[in-house]
Symmetry: C2
Subunit: 442 residues, 2 copies
């Protein structure tokens, strides 16, 4: 069972083992931003690669894009973000603290100082970060950090369709940073002002939109399950009509049961032809598709699965985390912390562990490590007891430990230990790459 | 020979084939920002992956990091960026245009309107983009978009050293976006305000700094050569003493001969202990290493190879670009445009080409494509003559074309054509993945 306590343990593990650090920590941190450490960057890279692989590499109907974070301000005018991407904010007249009007308690008393009926009228506060491009800070040079990657896809629709020669249904996938000036970031890497998105816009004939919306809801659920999120922790929640964005006729969230409750990992939305029509109107460019077979021109509808890379990473970590009682070899039990990460997501695929620091074992361990490195992200660890080193690898999710012992000098074989079952197998050094390749899907 | 004309041809190819588009193009573009299209995003991913692989995966002494773009402003105070990361700017009193004082012609006449001696005094203009974090635009909430990724590594030095248990010499590698409010961006993706860096900070005992500086100069040259930059186009240029940054005792640039002249791809700098000392002093935290073997505590020196991902991508494109006269099969010659990209960098590794759109060839082509997809980024193209399709793949650098013809139905083999030699070989379908794996290094 996920408990708030489990959240603390995972955050602690992330700090202690170099998965995620508070950003600018030596200066006391900075407004809920986080840095991915040596193991965290590998985990997040693997999450992003798994998404890219499933979206772009394994499919013939989806291509990639990497658009700039800074775009023409007219993009945000056309998309509606300048006018409506706002939170209603109120100030407490007594203590001057600022709150989201839609998150205030029913009592009408300030959550900070307790003053009653002390709030100002709600004002709309735009969530986009503003900056100035060029050497003059005037209105002409205003730019915004994109609050979503999707618009980079819509404004490139014609360029992409023409150069890739794809026909609807086809999609464009993109991974990149977005920025939202959230009033209340929190829950570790779940809600942050700077975050990474994995968004795909799937362009379809208008009449097929409902079909593809259903398809992508199921397809995206499958992706999370395939990479190790248990079914009991995952649900698809359709939005109520009043929850829907102005551009959407149907949206469902893929939610994960976080320690603090159900939270959105991914939204799948039928965005209709809203975005392409808005940009066509604002830019004066034609953003349509001419269907030669049926001799008709139309504005495609868009189905968008939009996943948060940081949230997905957090969900994989939480789902993988376990504290187990295991035999300690002395007739008793001891606790082991283990991340049962899918091997495709594990930061390190195999650890090479020479049984002891010894002039005969070290060279052969180095040789084995050298043979594995071109194929897998590996670690070499020679300090501490072998049991302690197993535990160190277990708690960061390394699927295989390769132990080099004195028998290796004679039989040219190593002991390969499985993270989850803790069973060990003797494997010839010559066959080690092949053995691990068979265990590790890619 | 690289000529300005060649630059136009490459930019044109990039637009026409979906490698790089002007950002926000339907709105007339936006201040020298660029978007990577379907093929460009794959090329750039491969460049970044090649760097990460050489830095992090293949070495035991370097770990990765992914720090946030938004950091505590104190970071930029300590690093010196707030005070000194500036360009001197002057205005022309006559036409009001703004220029970099150090880039003005010797004649003293405005390059825009021709007015003589019309410039204002030079003022220092900070190159960092400023924004505001949180709901109030006051000084307390000011933040900057990082102008380099390096500082994210320095402020995490203690966290990384402790959690990764590495000892100097060891390094931390990072890939990520940086932002500089350049007055004069230009030359396509060479100088842009938003750009991606691949930086590695290598922490060494102070006495070993000169040795490691030399090591990394040679090592980085080797990396560019290994991935296909010809030796004649590459040079290492040591900075003159007056060119050196305030924090560096020695810097060399890896330069590529672009069509407009030699330009910096990468800088290798001995940053001394400047950054760690500055952050230790500003934060009050200890940023040192205790060398147990020699019983001494020291502040490591830092050797930094810092490469621009966009510049590297541009150099690989330019070096790979060729227009060749080839036999047209009718006794004459025709022109083919080809990107001789290293196969590791090629956006698409293999194209599957059914000889014609035919109900017997299509299913087998689909089957072959399906078998290749888990292993390689592939393309399937069935439109136009086979010669035209070869040319299409040549000009985006696809190393192998796999042609499915009517013989395939009988002999279960395909014709594999090599991009560079244009030779063809008959390969059994069953052995195709193995064959391509042998040709494609990873």
């Amino acid at each position: 069972m996920a408990t708030p306590d489990q959240m603390d343990r995972v955050v602690n593990l992330c700090k202690r083992r170099g998965l995620v650090f508070p950003s600018s920590e030596i200066y006391g941190g900075f407004r809920s931003t986080w840095d991915y450490g040596p193991l965290g960057v590998e985990l997040k890279r693997n999450v992003k690669d798994a998404w890219w692989r499933s979206m772009v590499q394994l499919r013939d109907d989806i291509v990639g894009l990497d658009a700039a974070i800074l775009m023409a301000p007219k993009v945000w005018e056309a998309s509606g973000h300048l006018a409506t991407f706002t939170d209603p904010l109120v100030d407490c007249r007594s203590c001057k603290e600022r709150f989201r009007a839609d998150h205030l308690p029913g009592s009408g008393a300030c959550p900070n100082c307790g003053a009653k009926d002390s709030f100002t009228e709600a004002r709309h506060f735009n969530l986009m970060f503003k900056t100035f491009v060029g050497p003059v800070e005037d209105d002409a040079a205003v730019a915004y950090l994109r609050p979503e990657t999707a618009q980079g896809i819509f404004v490139n629709f014609a360029n992409i369709q023409t150069t890739s020669r794809k026909k609807p249904p086809f999609g464009v996938a993109q991974i990149g940073k977005s920025f939202r000036n959230e009033i209340t970031p929190g829950n570790f890497i779940f809600r942050t002002r700077e975050f990474e998105q994995m968004e795909m816009e799937y362009f379809v004939p208008p009449g097929d939109a409902d079909h593809w919306y259903e398809h992508w809801c199921q397809e995206r659920l499958r992706w999370h399950l395939d990479l190790g999120i248990p079914e009991s922790k995952l649900r698809l929640r359709p939005h109520d009509p009043e929850e829907l964005s102005h551009y959407s006729t149907a949206t469902s969230d893929v939610e994960y049961e976080f320690p603090w409750g159900w939270g959105e990992l991914e939204g799948i939305a039928n965005r209709t032809d809203f975005d392409l029509k808005q940009h066509a109107e604002s830019s004066g460019q034609e953003l349509t598709y001419f269907d030669q077979e049926n001799d008709r021109r139309y504005v495609p509808y868009v189905i968008e699965p939009a996943l948060g890379a940081d949230r997905a990473t957090l969900a994989f970590l939480l789902a993988a985390y376990e504290e187990e009682d295991v035999a300690n070899g002395k007739g008793g039990t001891e606790k082991r912390t283990v991340l049962h990460l899918d091997p495709r997501l594990a930061p390190i695929k195999a650890a090479v562990l020479p049984l002891s620091r010894n002039e005969r074992l070290t060279p052969i361990a180095e040789e084995i490590a050298g043979a594995l490195r071109p194929h897998f992200m590996i670690d070499v660890d020679s300090s501490g007891s072998i049991g302690r080193r197993y535990r160190r690898q277990d708690e960061v999710g390394t699927p295989y430990c390769v132990t080099v012992d004195f028998d290796t000098l004679d039989d040219h074989a190593v002991t390969v230990r499985d993270r989850d079952s803790m069973t060990q197998e003797r494997i010839p050094v010559d066959g080690l790459v092949t053995y691990l390749r068979e265990q590790l899907p890619w």
